[in-house]
């Protein structure tokens, strides 16, 4: 039996277009738009100004406070401007760099560091210096996750290899292509956390990844206790709470943080970046993304420079073969739709989807028919139908009694609703309105 959680559903995967396509480096864009906020928390403070000449990988923004992350230049060149640009997080201050000069960092890789001789603190220091955030989508600064307070008693590191969103195939390809690096990244992260065991969870639709990782693990035979577990393919298997529940059979107490269960979750892309940072001293200036959807001419798994704009990606991927109706950064279930192709890739961008009118739903919603499908699929055990009705009637008192803050925003309820009601959006509205009332 594969491990799994309660609730959930099975949206079509749409992964076949890119599932077997090897990583290709996309050409370096003429200019990069590097937002100073590419992470959850406080934006970084710019340390370069207009006209400065900077090198590849140079730090251009310094983290502000604990929940923040440094930002580095993904290309060498000249700072064209430090100005507000549109990002997926809203209008944010950004450093705009025009490509110029030599690619010193990628052309001359530094000598690998023997990470096993480093202390745990030195490892987290290198992770912090590289500006690493959670690459799975939430972009939570990794340093924060790796610095749990002592009373949390973290005992297990969980590597999230589920890639649960439809369309996306980056993590899958990463596990298939670099299984050794993923396992080494896992070991480095274990050392940084000081835990003795780790579980890599892979959904059972990624058999090749599972095989590649198992083979690597057997060949490397690391001293740490690392296991690879198959998980049932079910949405939202990779959501942090559900993944911990599936693998450790532990439930988060409602309202608490993941670490309270003794498990810490890191995405495979993140541990790959951790290894790059700790072993090679490479800051997070590139990432792997999936470009897919029915509108793009050449879908695939690509390695891109952070700060590359959507329009540059479209040009590099052969343009549109059909008119896109929606452009989504991230997966189709939790990603953000954008109205401008000037928006750049940030650290948390796991994919860019160019969806045609047939791939997205535009139907208007109608009143709830109380079919209960949302209740069946909700992985948290909420009543999305009742909450939606309460929000529509502006009855915040009723909404507050329906545990709106336990919603993980997976969107399963909205997906299955036959009346096409935007139920997870109603949860968001309830959360925001109740927050305002409380303050």
């Amino acid at each position: 039996m594969f491990s799994s959680f309660g609730g959930g559903m099975h949206p079509p995967e749409h992964k076949s277009a890119t599932k077997d396509l090897k990583f290709i480096n996309l050409a370096i864009p003429h200019s990069c738009y590097l937002s100073l906020q590419q992470h959850a928390g406080a934006p970084a403070k710019p340390v370069v100004s207009k006209g400065d000449t900077i090198s590849e990988g140079q730090r251009i923004g310094i983290a502000q406070g604990f929940v923040s992350a440094h930002v580095h230049s993904s290309i060498p060149g000249k700072v064209a401007d430090v100005a507000d640009i549109l990002t997926i997080y809203g209008t944010r201050q950004a450093v705009i760099v025009e490509t110029e000069g030599a690619f010193t960092a990628s052309a001359h890789p530094s000598q690998p560091v023997d990470w096993e001789s480093l202390a745990g603190g030195e490892i987290t220091e290198r992770i912090n210096d590289a500006g690493i955030v959670d690459l799975g989508g939430a972009a939570f600064p990794t340093l924060v996750k790796l610095s749990p307070s002592a009373e949390k008693r973290i005992d297990t590191l969980i590597i999230n290899g589920t890639e649960w969103e439809p369309y996306l195939t980056t993590d899958d390809m990463l596990m298939k292509t670099y299984p050794d690096a993923v396992i080494e990244g896992c070991r480095i992260t274990m050392k940084a956390l000081g835990v003795a065991s780790a579980i890599i969870g892979v959904e059972d639709n990624k058999r090749d990844s599972y095989k590649a990782l198992s083979k690597s693990l057997a060949a490397m035979n690391p001293p740490e206790n690392i296991s690879i577990k198959k998980l049932k393919t079910k949405y939202p298997q990779g959501a942090e709470k559900q993944l911990i529940s599936s693998l450790l059979r532990r439930e988060f107490p409602s309202g608490s943080l993941p670490g309270d269960t003794g498990g810490i979750v890191q995405n495979v892309g993140t541990v790959y970046a951790i290894r790059e940072a700790v072993v090679f001293g490479r800051p997070l200036i590139m990432r792997h993304i999936t470009v897919s959807g029915g509108a793009i001419a050449r879908p695939g798994n690509y390695k891109v420079r952070i700060g590359m704009r959507i329009s540059d990606i479209v040009d590099e991927c052969g343009g549109f073969k059909r008119q896109p109706a929606k452009i989504v950064m991230g997966g189709p279930m939790c990603g953000i739709s954008v109205h401008s192709m000037d928006i750049p890739v940030v650290k948390g961008t796991s994919g860019v989807l160019f969806l045609t009118g047939e791939e997205v739903s535009f139907r208007d919603y109608s009143p709830c028919i109380r079919c209960g499908k949302c209740v069946t699929v909700c992985p948290v055990g909420l009543l999305p139908c009742d909450l939606g009705n309460a929000v529509e009637k502006e009855r915040l008192d009723i909404a507050a009694g329906l545990n709106p803050f336990d919603c993980i925003m997976c969107g399963s309820c909205s997906y299955v609703c036959p009346a096409k009601r935007p139920l997870s959006h109603f949860f968001k509205i309830a959360q925001e309105k109740i927050q305002v009332v409380r303050e």
């Binding site: 107490p253 028919i369 948290v380 055990g381 997906y415 036959p418 959006h425």
Partner: protein, 364 residues
């Protein structure tokens, strides 16, 4: 690169949705009921077809007119009114007058559905409320317009005669339905000095059970064939439009409570009597197609089981002790009223809340 702003849509996630829609759900229900309807037309003749057509057209017309008058978006073709009309036609005797079923449809859609707020807001199952309205207004038409079977049917007089019953008594009874046979038969047998046990022998005879399952018996237009109703229900289960919870709890409770009743009444074939109760009357139609009406049933699995069990219990009580031979329709209507209460006490457990109740220090 040109700005494609005008052509791109922006919305909250998720950006994909299932293909399921309200018309998809409703027309699937119509499709699932179609075999049983077709069989009813075959069994009882063209009057049933007229009944169905009039009922459906009345319901859809009433829905469209009401939505127009109430200035609501007109969604009369989403199939929900058609389901109401179809179910109502299946819930009246096959020879019922056509004007009556049209009035029932109007009542169901106008009063029970639209005046309560339209699809999603009605408290009671419109078709069943329509049936109850007809039952209260024209009881004679609702209980006597049964189809007279010719020789060879389990409800034809000659079969009754072969069990040694006085023909005079059974001429009247056998024109009715198996459940009314059971209800009124005992008294008639006692009047004619025949042992009441003979009645149990008749209703649990292989011929009777087989007829009930295949559908060769009297009853309202749509309830006769358990087999075809089951086929339609399997389709709905497969399409995930209904779940097993309500039908299993409903039919299971009827089976269990009638078995217990006949066991304590020292009827030797009590389990066959339970089977007779399951297959007869409107139980399959009610349990699979009407108690499962999404609008008027609970939303959680636990709630559905409680709802189904409640329906089963009330059905059994009406059938065994009540004045009517059949109780499915009233049991569902009564339980409809309990849905808000059931929903309130059967909320699913929120992930992590049991843990928080046990471990100290986590504030809720």
């Amino acid at each position: 690169m040109t700005d494609k702003k005008d052509m791109l849509h922006v919305s909250y996630p998720p950006h994909m949705q299932s293909g399921e829609s309200i018309p998809g759900v409703m027309w699937s229900v119509v499709g699932a009921l179609a075999p049983a309807c077709a069989f009813a037309v075959y069994l009882f003749g063209p009057p049933v077809l007229v009944l169905i057509i009039v009922s459906v057209i009345s319901a859809v017309t009433a829905e469209a007119s009401m939505q127009f008058l109430l200035k609501r978006p007109v969604t009369a073709y989403d199939g929900s009114a058609a389901v109401t009309g179809l179910l109502l036609a299946m819930n009246v005797p096959p020879l019922a007058p056509v004007w009556m079923v049209a009035l029932g449809s109007f009542f169901a859609v106008i009063i029970v559905k639209q005046l309560f707020g339209g699809l999603g807001f009605n408290i009671f199952n419109p078709a069943l409320a329509g049936r109850a309205f007809l039952m209260a207004s024209w009881p004679l038409a609702m209980t006597t317009k049964w189809y007279s079977f010719s020789a060879g049917n389990v409800l034809s007089p000659d079969i009754g005669n072969s069990f040694g019953f006085p023909p005079a008594a059974f001429d009247a009874l056998t024109r009715a339905t198996p459940l009314s046979l059971l209800k009124e038969g005992q008294k008639l047998l006692a009047d004619n000095n025949v042992a009441a046990d003979r009645l149990y022998d008749l209703v649990t005879s292989p011929a009777m059970l087989k007829s009930l399952f295949l559908g060769n018996v009297g009853g309202v237009a749509g309830e006769t064939s358990a087999l075809l109703l089951l086929a339609g229900a399997l389709f709905l289960l497969f399409r995930r439009i209904i779940t097993w919870h309500i039908p299993v709890a409903f039919i299971g409770t009827v089976a269990l409570s009638t078995a217990v009743y006949y066991y304590t009444a020292a009827v030797p074939c009590f389990y066959l009597m339970a089977l007779f109760h399951c297959l007869s009357g409107g139980l399959f139609l009610g349990a699979f197609f009407m108690a499962t009406d999404v609008v008027t049933s609970p939303v959680s699995a636990k709630g559905m089981i409680a709802f189904g069990a409640g329906c089963g219990l009330i059905t059994s009580v009406i059938r065994l002790w009540g004045g009517y031979p059949e109780g499915v329709a009233y049991s569902i209507l009564i339980m409809n009223a309990f849905v808000p209460l059931i929903d309130r006490f059967t909320r699913p457990r929120v992930f992590g809340t049991r843990v928080s109740a046990r471990t100290a220090g986590v504030e809720r």
